[in-house]
Amino acid sequence: MKHFQRTIRDLHQLLLDREISSVELTESVLGQIDAVGERTKAYLLVTRELALRQAKAADERLRAKRDVKPLTGIPIALKDVLCVKDVVSTAGSKILKGFTPPYSATVVDRLESEGAVFLGKTNCDEFAMGSSNENSGYWPVHNPWGLDRVPGGSSGGSAAAVASGEAIAALGSDTGGSIRQPAALTGTVGMKPTYGRVSRYGLIAFASSLDQIGPMTRDVVDAALLLQSIAGHDPRDSTSSQEPVPDYLSGLQRGVKGMRLGVPKEYFVAGMEPAVEQAINDAIRLLEQQGAIIQEVSLPHSDVALPAYYIIAPAEASSNLARYDGVRYGYQAEGAKNLIEEYMLTRQQGFGAEVKRRIMLGTYALSSGYYDAYYLQAQKVRTLIIDDFRRAFEKVDALLGATSPTVAFPLGAKTQDPVAMYLNDIITIPANLGNVCGISVPCGLADGLPIGLQIIAPGFREETMLQVAFAFEAAADFRKLQSPLMRAAA
């Protein structure tokens, strides 16, 4: 087994035992990036020198047994929406081409203080807007399970990197499913923590009230480890929670015996592929065999979550993206004759089609005369969805469903139909609107393409969600599944 194929926990032990060094490990991962990077296109920027420098520092730390943390020396990829001091950070957009922030995101600071190694910035849909990574301002990402397939989005680069061995783990961001859906489509574990669990400081914003940073890993233990290091209040983010951070690892192995798990009937949406539905039903049965009490529940407003999301998220985005005006940083159009033209040309040329579409949608929804009919109405729907979850969680401890109604689709299949593309997120969006947490774990393959099981738990009950996820992973043993790109290298 190559180093790059292992999990954080295994590697941590090997590093502690001096079986390998962080530099060796980092070189192993960088070697895999060299080998398959041109095929997946998972990275926008590989920070080779930085990674090796950090690996050397981590080895020092390990040698001195000084302040060694679970992530010390572990090579990790960062979605390009995360600001890293002195490293180009563009959110996958041409409008931020070359932008080098003079500060790091809080999560980046935290990983850095643990001694993690930064491999680079992973590709994503521009400003995290998309479900296939085809909206990247630079190039699309290819799924390591089938290079003609999308990896999902928007954290498609992070997902592909973890699935192909181009990173041991990665951070992504999830506004409507952008961690969970690509995790499902690439056979990896992806978690969206509860809004407020992880600081958003330094996360290039898409929709501020929905964005949340989370781990993308090979297995559930790694997800717990990574969450442990990034979770917690941050005085620089007023929306980050003061809620204490529990130990996410200690309760992982408690099992699901006696746990009440709900299956929302609304999550078996029209258009769900039969193989996906089959895999989800199998997964539910497996958890039942492990002792869980399965019951059907209803989240009656699930059908209006998607339209509400496509009001709220673009509304916030239209405002969040106003700062990209060419005046202070990033792309600036040439040849403008006056200020208004400068704005228009810069934004016309700097933003891609989907970003422009959402800016227009959001601007419209917030406009005088339309605000009440759209934005305010959508906020009311959001309240209904929060209530749906609250009522469901009075009956059950966690919810089960598919992450995505389909497996990875071919590149280009949905690019001409934005609404078909939006429907990818129909089962992931409610968790963002409902202030709950969700995780996707691999639960099978259909025609060689991964399927994800989504587990949703109440707000700030990540430990419950991880407990179910771990139990399923252990029972199903899909953990050993590796993408062809990863296998080929072994």
């Binding site: 932008f99 003079p102 929709a207 700062r323 005006d325 202070r328």
Partner: protein, 483 residues
Amino acid sequence: MAIATRYEVVVGLEVHAQVLTQSKMFCRCSTDYLTAPPNSLTCPVCLGLPGALPVINKKAVEQTIRTALALHCEIAPFTKFDRKNYFYPDLPKGYQISQYDLPISRNGYLEFEVGGEHRRCGITRVHLEEDTGKLLHAGAIEESQSSLVDLNRAGVPLMEIVGEPDLRSADEAREYVMRLRAILQYIGINNGDMESGQLRCDANVSLRPPGSKELGTKVEIKNMNSFRAIHRAIQYEVVRQSEILSNGGNLIQETRGWNDAKGETISQRSKESAHDYRYFPEPDLPPLTVTAASVAHLRESLPELPAARRDRYIKDLGLTAYDASLITSAKAFADFYDETRRLGADPKKAANWILGDFSRLLNADHKEIQDTSIQPKHLQQLIALIDSGVISGRMAKQTFEAMYRASDPEPALTAAKGSSQISGDAELAGIVDQVMAENEKSVADFKAGREQALKFLIGQGMKLSKGRANPQRLEALLREKVS
């Protein structure tokens, strides 16, 4: 005056006041931007860099609540921030964090007097927002080839005080702003400097037939940088609007800028091209809950406010209402006055000096009382010199101006004492004779060799001369006569 009788003037003012906290509204950058090099007081938050997030400055919220309390407003138990979206290079995020439908406070009032009449203007709301940066153009903005952006001011806490359209003249508008400024100074919001932009004022001006309840078409006037400008701009606008209306014309709702040099308002923007600011709740900031206990605590922290101080001056010190209003109109004025009194000056005399000669000189030089080197002790000493008859009133006026002009007032004060000194032996001889006649015992004691007695006699001589005798000459003459 025909105009004034044909139409009723309706004015409502929006006043913006910077809240001079140590740090900015949503980051830790200093607010001390007036002298700092451009863009030196900035950080990712106030530069609007991607991913940076705002954190509310608690002190700025408290200062706004204190101001609202001083203006008799209701404090909202639940308040939130909203985004006001528009594009301009001085606005780094493309939106201003402000407050829309749930401001910190509402429904207050401000009382003042104009022409001896008591007036009250409603306060619609007091809310908190962030200031913008500054643009520097080479010459006129229309011709400038490029503009420079300085974001030191961006993010400085800015309080907006929206008044009801209760003002009926330019005089009232000016008085309202002056009283408001005094309150802000008393609370320590800022120094009330209009030229530097600490305090800014926009006026909504409209006319209507007397007795009408409906408001006429309003015009918003911006860019008035002094009390005088506020007064002139409103007066100009009243004349302009009434001429249009008198000629059967219609006014358009628009924004007009005051050009101080030309003395006129110039159209900037009509309603048709008005912005749609697309306000929505700021998702980066959770709403604030303001408890009754914290409001009570802030209320207790309020200093004596201008109105109370004014009433106290009238009641306890016997000042006229007019004088009391003037002295309390600026905090530095009233503080100077109180200190002068505390040192022993008579309240009315101190008031007369401050409102008379001192104000006249300050006004002529466009200076504030704190800009001069004259301290309360100097004025108190000057008044004492007049009281003891050392100098005449006329001489005191000359002395005061000399003190005012000098970088150090002390020499002028000493010179005033010296110039009236009696040094001539002939005049002093009379005093010595009188002292000796009235203090035979002390004269005898001194003859017996007790130096202490001579000191007493000198003191008596000084007293008799009302302090004007030259002490050295007086001593010499006493020694001579006694021996």
